[in-house]
Structures are given as C-alpha cells and as structure tokens.
C-alpha cells in the first residue's frame, strides 16, 4: 500500500467525524466530503443512504430543488458538509464576500443553502482545506450561516466539527468555541495556533490525527474511487489514478 495522500487523509478524517446515521448528504463540488460519505457507508453495518447532489446516480430526490431542504427539515438528513471562504471562532461561515456588505472588496458566489442547513441538520461538518489566518478568522465579514443561536431560536443542529488541511477541531455551541481535537501527521499544535485567526481551546496533550489503515485505503482506492470516477472524474483521476 503506497503512502497516504492528503486527500485520503482528509476523506478518512471527515468520515471519522460522522456518527452512526441513516442519511448523509453532500452538496455541490465537494469531492472529499463525497469520498468521506461513501467511506462511512462502505464501513457501516447498517443501511446508510448517501445523497450526492452533484450526481444523478447517488441522488434519488424527485421533488425538485426544494427536496433536500424539506427532507432536512423533516430530520431525514443526519449529516451535511459546509465550507466557508471565511470561518470564524464561533463557527460562523461567510460565503458572500469581504468588506462591509454591500460595499464589498471581494465577492464570493453566495450563501447557497448554508443558513438553512446549519439549523436543520443535526451534524454539520465544516470543511476547508486551506488553514490560514485568511480563512480562519476572528470574525467573518458576513455571516452567511451562524454557528450558534441564542436561546429561544428553533435550531435542531449545527456545526459539530471543523476539518482542515492541518487539523481537526470540535465545536461546542454552548460555549461558542472550538477545541483542537487532533493535528495531522507531521504538523504541530503551535503551527495550528499560528495559522488560526481565532482563539480556540487547546488540550494539554494534542493527539495526532489517525492515519487511514490499509483496509480504509483499500476501500478508498477501490470501490470508492470507482464511484467517484462517475461524478468527479477530474478529482478521481488526480487522486486515484488507475494503475497503468
């Protein structure tokens, strides 16, 4: 088995954040979360439904664009992944732009469904490969989706964890604070601290993120790579090249 690639480590790490659930949904343009969801499915003893919006094969919605949101409202989607051009220390994410809205200095695509999914999905996993003071900021310029809500506001779920190219953090919505869970192999807690624009809790002893074992890598490179080739051909070709 060759050495673990960063994408493989991230997929396995995201998969490790997924509790025992029935239905995992993955939004557009998210190949690593898609790999993580399929990995969780492949290792689960129970029947786990995976919806990959980007795909036709792994998308059995038939009630139009609203169905993802309605199904999530019904409590039928247990896990969803959200990114953020900026993510702050209270797990707020920004997908709109930099500057004082509407006088932006940089414009991003927009909030997509994040302000909704962050409330209705029990387990939201934040994912951003770039871990830098530019992406992980003290306070986002624009709150697309808030990471927590004041008492009295109906909210079923929200961010539970943040996975980056450097580390894994857990989010505590009551304390509105991240806590470092692990740093990826070869990285240090000090490095994470320096690359993070917000304060977070640091355990006395910071574990190293578990590297995927041979069985996990076998799944990723075998059946899961085969599936990803259908709907993320570019990603699959890059990360899981077919042996010549």
């Amino acid at each position: 088995m060759s050495e673990c690639k960063p994408e493989e480590l991230l997929a396995a790490t995201l998969a490790a954040q997924i509790p025992d659930v029935r239905h995992i949904a993955v939004g557009a343009a998210s190949p690593i979360p898609a790999a993580a969801a399929l990995l969780h499915q492949a290792r689960s003893k129970e029947r786990v439904h995976v919806t990959i919006l980007h795909s036709r094969r792994y998308n059995s919605f038939t009630d139009g664009g609203r169905e993802l949101f309605d199904a999530a409202a019904q409590g039928r989607i247990d896990v969803f992944f959200l990114g953020g051009v900026q993510i702050d220390g209270e797990a707020n994410i920004n997908l709109v732009g930099l500057g004082e809205y509407p006088d932006l200095t940089q414009r991003f695509p927009g909030s997509f469904g994040s302000p909704y999914m962050a409330f209705v999905v029990p387990n939201v996993i934040l994912f951003r490969e770039e871990h830098s003071p530019r992406t992980l900021v003290k306070e986002v310029d624009f709150v697309s989706a808030p990471g927590w809500s004041p008492e009295g506001v109906w909210r079923r779920g929200g961010p539970k964890a943040l996975v980056t190219g450097l580390a894994v953090m857990a989010f505590d919505a009551t304390r509105r604070c991240f806590r470092l869970s692990s740093v990826h192999p070869g990285r240090t807690a000090a490095e994470v601290r320096a690359a993070t624009g917000f304060e977070f809790d640091m355990p006395d002893c910071v574990p190293t993120t578990t590297v995927p074992d041979a069985a996990t890598l076998g799944l990723l490179r075998g059946s899961i790579a085969a599936k990803l080739r259908e709907f993320y051909p570019d990603f699959a070709a890059r990360v899981f090249p077919v042996p010549a």
């Binding site: 609203r66 949101f69 927009g110 997509f112 469904g113």
Partner: protein, 275 residues
C-alpha cells in the same frame, strides 16, 4: 386540445419584456442557454433575474452582456471552474444589484406565489446577515406558538417570466420536465412560461402514465421553441453532459472584459459586442 404549435427561438425570447422579473433554473434542471444567447442578441435590458436557486454560465453571460439590472440568487459561480467572472465584476462595480438569498428561501417564495399567499414561513436562517439586509423578509413571533418563538417569513416571488430548457414537448404543448419539479413550481408561480425543448414528442404524454408523471401541463405554458442542444454547453438531465472543456475555457477567457466580448461575439453571434 391540440391547437399547439411551436414558435421560433426569436419569437420566444421576444416575449421576455425588458425589465421583466425572470426566473431561471440551476444548471441541473435545464439551463436555457440557446434562449439566453438569443436574449443577448436581442439586446434585452434591465432584466431582474431570480436564479432557482443558483446559476452558473447563464447568469454570468446575461450579466456580462449588460442585460441584467439585478439578480436575486443563492449563488452565482462556475462551480469547479471557479468564480463567475462577469457576476463578480458587476457585483463589485455595483453595475448590478445583488439581492443575496439562500436556496430554501427562493423555493419558499416561489411556493408562496404558487399558492398566491403573501408569504411562507421558514425555519432557520435567523442570525444570518441575510436577514439584516433583506428588508423584504420579516421575522415575527410564531403566531401559532405560545410566544418566544421567532420565525422568518419569506414574501412571494412572482416572476413575470419563467424560462427554461427541457427534453421535449408533445403535440398538445405539454412539456416533459421529469423529476425537475422546480420547473413546475416556477411555471406555476410565473405569469408567463417560455420553454425551449430538444425535440417534439409525437403524441400526448398523457397517453402514458409513465410519461404523464413528468409532464408540465400546456395551460401553464405561453410559448415553446425547439432548440436542439439548447442547454449546451451546460448539460441537460438525462440527455447530455456539460461541455467541460468549453466551461473551463470560458472561465479563463471571461476573466477580462475583452475576453468576454470575444467569447460573446463567437458564441452568441454578437459581432457588435466585440467591436
């Protein structure tokens, strides 16, 4: 039942008045790209786009070509090919007004229009900065609750025109939309619905319950034009995949205004735009 006949693409887009509130679907549900190019050739102005709920190339072309005054959207992006260059330029330069929304709020607003009720309630979203800036959205205390339960109300979105591309129309003027039910919603919500299709189906979808399940009835539809590969270079569900090379090249070429003008002249036949 069957006094239906399709019209030309130019006649179809002639039914989109300048200034119209125009609902268009996301890439996965029949982006009307041929009609978009025809709208650009016509020189449509001041369109107020509603993307259902997001858009890629279609919105970017219309914005870049100067057809758009404002856009209500959950996102405009070229997805894996990067930012939508014209949208981004226009938003920053404020040559268009961006009305930031979120996917389920757009669906809710259209469903309110479908029922002709003034609003639909929606959970979540509270605390998002969207709520601060959307003065047309309203937070109220849940009128069915015991107090202390804030909930957001989304006003009806009533498009003047819904415009999309679909695999086929039948001889009665019904359009087959398959499982892309948001196309039914925008047709229901809109005053006028205009559709381009790949081809005509020889018969009625209602002769076969399997086809009927995916049909949008003719009485919602004011015009149908045949436009083969009418969603290209975007894909069409069940018919063809996106033209990845085209989209990748566009993302690069449209980074400059000159590049965009050249693209438009070549792809939409707007010689003047390139001049």
């Amino acid at each position: 039942m069957s006094s239906f006949s399709p019209i030309s693409l130019d006649d179809l887009v002639a039914q989109v008045p300048d200034g119209a509130l125009l609902a268009v679907p996301a890439d996965y549900s029949g982006a009307p790209m041929a009609a978009t190019r025809a709208l650009i050739r016509r020189g449509a102005k001041n369109l107020r786009l509603v993307t259902v709920p997001q858009s890629t190339l279609q919105a970017d072309l219309l914005i870049g070509a100067g057809c758009v005054a404002e856009v209500e959207t959950a996102a405009v992006t070229l997805g894996e090919f990067g930012i939508a260059p014209c949208f981004t330029r226009a938003a920053l330069a404020k040559t268009i007004k961006v009305i930031d929304a979120t996917c389920p709020a757009i669906h809710a607003g259209l469903q309110a229009a479908e029922k002709d009720v003034p609003f639909l309630p929606i959970r979540g979203i509270l605390g998002s900065d969207l709520v601060k800036h959307r003065t047309d959205w309203k937070t109220v205390d849940n009128p069915m609750g015991g107090g202390g339960d804030p909930i957001l109300l989304i006003p009806a979105i009533k498009p003047d025109v819904a415009l999309f591309h679909a695999p086929m129309a039948d001889l009665e003027g019904n359009v087959w939309i398959g499982r892309r039910r948001e196309l039914a919603t925008i047709a229901h919500a809109a005053k006028t619905t205009l559709v381009t299709v790949e081809r005509l189906h020889d018969g009625s979808f209602f002769d076969d319950e399997r086809l009927a399940a995916g049909a949008l009835p003719a009485f919602y539809i004011q015009g149908v034009a045949v436009a083969e590969r009418g969603a290209a270079p975007v894909g069409l569900f069940g018919e063809y995949e996106p033209d990845i090379d085209h989209l990748r090249a566009y993302a690069k070429e449209a980074r400059t205004e000159d590049g965009f003008a050249a693209y438009l002249a070549r792809e939409a036949g707007t010689a003047k735009a390139a001049a």
